[in-house]
Symmetry: C2
């Protein structure tokens, strides 16, 4: 099945190319190329496949004329030129919040929060699922599936409903109530697995080879090469929202590690295409101490990730055996960044800090990135004088139990009661 | 304090005009005009005050060049020309979802869902609070306050954090947990009142005349004329997102009724400014049966609203004595629309319908509008052949208990268990 020359590039018009500028799948390890198809591992070396492109001319002006969502970057993604007209959740162009009050509290000069809770199901997962939906449509799949720590389940459920797919998603038992309800409300099947996320993931790999899984697109398994490209849109948006400029430092959460590596890929594409100036940027990864295999490998100077059994409130980052861990280490080391970790108490503190200073109610993953930002500033790894972006990839409404917030007082509706409670 | 000629219009540059194109406050009943200030009721007839404008030239092109939020419509709002540079939540430009699958199920030809759950705190309230923040800044208030059924509390908390105000918000005891946590997490004071929303509202009116409330901007009391204008942005966005065209029919929830009357005001402004073609549109109001004083008045042909004690799961619409009820009746009758109501069971059904067909997880208020759409279609009041917009003004994550959704099954991570559960 390996091919020597990309095939899709011979089609004439963008609309006739179901994967747009995507030319082939290429093995990240050995470089072997494959036709665009529902495959994810190299037949020769078992390395992960990713999308290789042959980009046409892409200009800032053309992007600016596009829709107010990720499809403005369609010429940089494995999607057809008419993607904006197809039924999809159309996520993206979430706010890049100029975080002056948080910056002041941290002693920083220029800080922004990329707040992905503004996506349709309130996490960055809508970006990756939007790609998987287009790939599934192209491959003729009729059911969408995934293994999920919660946010992905909701994103797949919603996108399946909008685009007219059946869905069956798998989660570890014991997730936050909000994530369970949100995954189920769209009417697809939701199956809880007694085990960790890594158990769920292994089960999905089995199911994919079984007749029961025929016709199913597992967004983060057999559609993973397409799916993962969705994270590049975070890079494009941040650059465009900064006025077509790369940030000097960026703090990104690590679950599987895919998001971090794809943001780096996105930045490098923008440089290669001449859309931004080629200047250094440093990438920092963030984990919760209760699930920090990448941070530990970074600290110990290892290249190999030792899997762990997760124990943290940051369930959306609780992947004990992160597939892209080694590539994360590469990116952070190459760009002069680092990988940091914070305990659950610091996660909770940091959620409150972000809420109190910027009015952004982050889920635990946003507490992890904000906490690691604070920690790496204190350690001197992050420069307070350089323009920095920190990611919030999810929504506090989905991890309500992580925060301790409630009413100040309950009173009768009278001025006397107001004074008696010492509220005046 | 009444003035005969507007004062603010004499300033030379937009930046020098803290209220932009706003020229005065005018009594909705007797037309008496007042200087722009923190006042909300006419001194002569006690009628509500609203903002009167002297618009300059406004073009579609200038709007398109603006930011991807409500501030693109700054030339139509009581805000300074440089508003986009000030610390604010910058809500708006939420998705207008082309709801083809829901339309098919309802037998309609062209239906769109305006999904305001995409706002920063996931309800339309971010729009109105954004206006109140600018007014509070201009008037030198240091604390933001409100009476709230829940969504407003979160919006005021977040905006106060972002813009650097203290906050103290008042809610009826017994609100949904998510709304309570979201109102408290931003660090301001949150006071629960033993009573209904109407009790909370009365208490706030008392507090405003008391020394304890000095320096406080109550966004929906003494800042109400500015605050309420934020709902006009829904009208502007819908028209722009339809390609600068008014919808033929629109279904809007009724709480105080302000949103509905301001959307109508926004449509009329667009016509007057030549930004859209002047063609008829019909406005439909939606209430939950357990709090439907406006629907009842409509059905009975009355002009006066008889207050009720709310009893519905649609708590964000549970205002038993809606201030703008009579104006809602005017708009719905003038445009050839209607006011409908549905019971709580239909609200729950309609939340599921919207989620299942379009991947939009609405709060109960969105179940009310979708339910009323369905009901008025069945009754023949809404024409299935005309282009229609239905509003979802809040987020299902805030009213989780309203829906009955959970896992299909819990299994061990094995194909055998998958088959035993009948999932294959």
């Amino acid at each position: 099945m390996a091919i020597s020359a990309p095939e899709a590039t011979t089609a004439e018009t963008p609309a006739a190319r179901p994967f747009g500028p995507a030319a082939a799948l290429a093995c990240r390890e050995c470089g072997e190329r494959y036709e665009l198809g529902p495959r994810f591992a190299c037949e020769f070396c078992f390395g992960p496949l990713e999308v290789a492109y042959e980009f046409g001319a892409v200009t800032r002006e053309r992007i600016a004329e596009g829709p107010n969502n990720i499809w403005r970057y369609a010429p940089l993604l494995p999607v057809p030129g008419n993607v904006a007209e197809l039924p999809n959740m159309n996520p993206g162009l979430t706010p890049l919040v100029r975080a002056d009050r948080l910056a002041a509290e941290l002693g920083m000069e220029a800080l922004h929060v990329k707040d992905d809770s503004g996506n349709p199901t309130h996490s960055f997962k809508d970006r990756v699922v939007a790609m998987a939906v287009e790939a599934a449509r192209n491959f003729g799949f009729t059911t969408l599936s995934c293994s999920s720590t919660g946010n992905l389940a909701g994103a797949v459920g919603a996108a399946s409903a909008r685009a007219g797919f059946r869905s069956c998603v798998f989660i570890p038992a014991g997730l936050e109530e909000a994530k369970v309800v949100m995954a189920a409300v769209y009417g697809g099947r939701l199956v809880a697995i007694d085990g960790t996320y890594d158990d769920v993931n292994r089960f999905c790999s089995e199911l994919i080879g079984d007749p029961a899984g025929e016709g199913w697109g597992f967004v983060n398994v057999n559609l993973r090469p397409y799916y993962a490209e969705g994270s590049k849109t975070l890079a494009y948006e941040i650059a465009e929202q900064l006025g077509w400029r790369l940030p000097e430092q960026i703090v990104i959460p690590i679950a599987s590690g895919s998001q971090l590596t794809k943001i780096d890929k996105g930045f490098r594409e923008l440089i290669a295409l001449g859309l931004v100036e080629d200047r250094p940027y440093r990438v920092f990864g963030a984990q919760a101490s209760g699930c920090s295999p990448v941070a530990r490998a970074y600290e110990e100077g290892h290249d190999v990730i030792q899997p762990v059994k997760p124990d943290t409130i940051a369930k959306s980052l609780a992947i004990g055996n992160p597939a892209d861990g080694p590539y994360v280490l590469d990116v952070c080391r190459r760009t002069g960044g680092a990988v940091g970790r914070v305990g659950d108490d610091e996660v909770v503190d940091s959620i409150a800090l972000l809420a109190r200073t910027e009015g952004v109610f982050a889920e635990t993953a946003g507490g992890v990135t904000t906490g690691v930002l604070r920690k790496l500033l204190a350690e001197g790894a992050i420069d307070p004088g350089k323009e920095t972006v920190v990611l919030n990839t999810g929504d506090g409404l989905k991890t309500l139990n992580a925060v301790d917030a409630g009413v100040t007082a309950t009173i009768r509706p009278s001025l006397d009661a107001f004074r008696e409670a010492g509220l005046d």
